[in-house]
């Protein structure tokens, strides 16, 4: 008995029951299609979160004052003045820190002629651009010299430009006012759009931190420090180093709590990843269950088919089919159903994924492994769930089978 003959026999038997065969296949088709679509949606949203986080600066480390008690009263972070310029200077020299910038900010009204706009001015160093992945589109960033001299210069985000220069004038070189302080616009940032939290990342004014500290806020401390590790994998290590350094700087004793908070984007990204991972697992479970149900459908139909075709099996045996021939015939029938169901399911899954993207505009991403996996699973399903009915068929006694009514 060769494979070609077996295939011929199995195909013939299946074509005698086209509707039933298709309905059985439907279970597998829906299972495979949903596995592929669900995994594509899960992976798509994960990818889009990843992209947004890396746009925010994936290896960014944020240091803020925190956890300070004065006589038992916990202080609001804004009132704390634990971080100094000296801390920033010290962090600059830690190995593994790629860029570092102090951060002081102040809200206020920006005025240009007849136009005014409320925004926030961030006092930073030029390295801030690298940390936050900003780029200067027109003009240039202010320089270290501007920082030394606390120069009255600033760089504007696109939203600010749109509001202050509605006529489309080139803002570079123009003088605007922040409150009462005149400032020269030296550059315009490239637009970044909104981040994953819905914040407008273009609603910023960047100025030297010395300018904001001395000329606007008149303070001698800084509100925070932004730093970035050389790469994502070194973030934890760098955080430890900064923590140790700041504790030494602040002369904290062993038992003292940190008087600052240090956080990285990695935590945020891990949190978001774990959420979307959980979603993916959940979706895959639902899809997997439907594949299992499809498999049980195959088993059910194969059992019915064996009972219904008992006489046929008896006949085949009496004209010389061996047990293994009958077993292979029914196994091949089950595998043909599951494999062709799998192929149709993959096509349908890819189409459904495309439709989800087209109609709902959800981010999707089909991974090769999900296609390979679901195909492998449904082939195995066919063999597994086809095996018992096939075994039953092969074990029939030809004498009883041929006289079965």
């Amino acid at each position: 008995m060769n494979i070609a003959n077996l295939l011929k026999i199995a195909l013939k038997a299946l074509s005698n029951n086209k509707l039933r065969c298709f309905l059985t296949m439907l279970g597998i088709i829906i299972g495979v299609a949903s596995v592929i679509t669900m995994l594509a949606i899960g992976q798509g949203s994960k990818n889009s979160i990843k992209k947004q986080i890396s746009e925010m600066g994936s290896n960014m480390i944020m240091i803020h004052p925190g956890n300070m008690q004065r006589g038992g009263v916990r202080q609001s972070a804004d009132d704390m003045q634990t971080i100094k310029v000296a801390d920033y200077e010290a962090i600059r020299h830690i190995p593994g820190v790629a860029a570092v910038s102090p951060s002081v900010n102040s809200g206020g009204q920006l005025v240009n002629g007849n136009n005014n706009y409320p925004s926030t001015i961030y006092g930073v160093t030029p390295e801030y651009l690298d940390i936050r992945k900003f780029k200067v589109k027109d003009g240039a960033m202010f320089t270290d010299n501007d920082i030394k001299s606390a120069a009255k210069v600033c760089v504007l985000g696109k939203t600010v430009v749109d509001n202050l220069f509605p006529g489309g004038d080139d803002p570079v070189g123009r003088v605007i006012r922040f409150g009462k302080i005149p400032m020269t616009v030296v550059g315009v940032l490239e637009s970044k759009g909104t981040n994953s939290m819905g914040q407008d990342q273009d609603d910023v004014v960047i100025a030297p931190y010395t300018t904001v500290m001395k000329r606007i806020l008149a303070i001698d401390y800084i509100q925070g420090i932004f730093a970035s590790a050389v790469d994502e994998s070194h973030t934890d290590e760098t955080i430890d180093r900064i923590t140790n350094l700041l504790r030494a700087q602040h002369k904290l004793k062993e038992e003292d709590d940190n008087d600052f908070e240090i956080r990285s984007q990695q935590e945020l990204s891990e949190m978001m990843n774990s959420t979307s991972d959980m979603m993916t697992v959940l979706l895959a479970c639902i899809a997997g269950i439907s594949l299992l149900v499809g498999g049980i459908g195959i088993m059910n139909i194969m059992y019915v088919s064996v009972t219904e075709r008992t006489r046929e099996i008896g006949l085949r045996m009496s004209i010389g089919a061996r047990g293994v021939d009958i077993l292979s015939q029914f196994l091949i029938e089950a595998v043909i159903i599951s494999v062709s169901g799998g192929v149709i399911g993959i096509l349908l899954g890819v189409m459904a994924t495309w439709l989800v993207n087209l109609i709902a505009h959800w981010p999707v991403y089909i991974q090769v492994y999900s296609v390979v996996l679901s195909f492998a699973v449904c082939t195995i399903t066919g063999v597994f769930f086809g095996w018992y009915p096939a075994k039953k068929a092969a074990g029939l006694d030809p004498i009883e089978a041929i006289r079965y009514e």
Partner: protein, 249 residues
């Protein structure tokens, strides 16, 4: 006839079944020899053991004791798979209820035994199936499906299927049992024709009338042979068929 080759030799064949706590002796020592070219009817009422004997002769079952040689090969020591191959190469079955595959054409039904013989290629398979259908006068119905044919035609397809592997023996089990008298005689005619061409046939039936159309008649009762007679001048099924009143309704 004795100068012809021995096709079947059974010697003191016994078959017992255990039903519940009881031992049922279906065959109690049956012996005979069948030579090439014989047309044997095996007759007996139900419970006489003829079905058990047919199952043993057809290599579907193995005896509890006794010797069975089919075409010179001892069968009772064979494994299930070896017996399947034996059935495929040496035996042609004809059943009472035809047992054709549904929704399958005549020629595909006839090809079936050859599908389980990997030595026969697709082209040869088709040629032999067509030749077998010609031998039963059905060359005009090659591509008719089994459910589009009358009972007589279906039985002819079944006979063609039994012929296609050139078996050493054709085993017919009540092959005319489901047919009306006219069709029965036409099938019987076909068996006589095949007999005349030198085929060896065993025809198991409970109908005593059929004995006169065969060349030898073995009667079983309670698992034993009670008579084994040679019929030197078998009646012609054709003559009987022609004498039947024509269907004028």
């Amino acid at each position: 006839m004795s100068e012809n080759k021995e096709i079947i030799r059974i010697d003191n064949l016994r078959r017992e079944f255990v039903v519940g706590n009881e031992k049922v002796k279906a065959l109690r020592g049956v012996s005979f020899t069948i030579h090439e070219g014989e047309f044997v009817t095996i007759m007996g009422t139900s419970g006489s053991g003829k079905s058990t004997l047919l199952n043993l002769l057809g290599c579907l079952d193995t005896p509890t004791s006794g010797e069975y040689l089919l075409d010179g090969v001892s069968v009772q020591s064979m494994s299930k798979n070896q017996r399947a191959v034996m059935r495929n190469r040496k035996i042609g079955f004809v059943f009472q209820n035809y047992n054709l595959l549904p929704k399958t054409t005549a020629v595909e039904n006839v090809e079936l035994p050859l599908l389980y013989n990997s030595a026969v290629g697709a082209k040869e398979r088709r040629e032999r199936a067509v030749a077998a259908l010609k031998a039963v006068d059905l060359e005009s119905r090659l591509n008719h499906k089994s459910n589009q044919m009358s009972g007589g035609q279906q039985q002819r397809v079944a006979i063609a299927r039994a012929l296609v592997n050139n078996p050493v023996i054709i085993l017919a089990d009540e092959a005319t049992g489901n047919l009306d008298t006219r069709t029965s005689f036409s099938i019987l005619m076909l068996f006589q024709q095949l007999h005349a061409q030198g085929k060896t046939i065993i025809f198991v039936t409970h109908n005593p009338e059929l004995a006169e159309y065969s060349s030898r008649n073995i009667v079983l009762r309670d698992g034993k042979i009670i008579s084994d007679t040679i019929n030197e001048h078998p009646a012609s099924a054709r003559e009987a068929f022609e004498k039947l009143p024509k269907d004028t309704d």
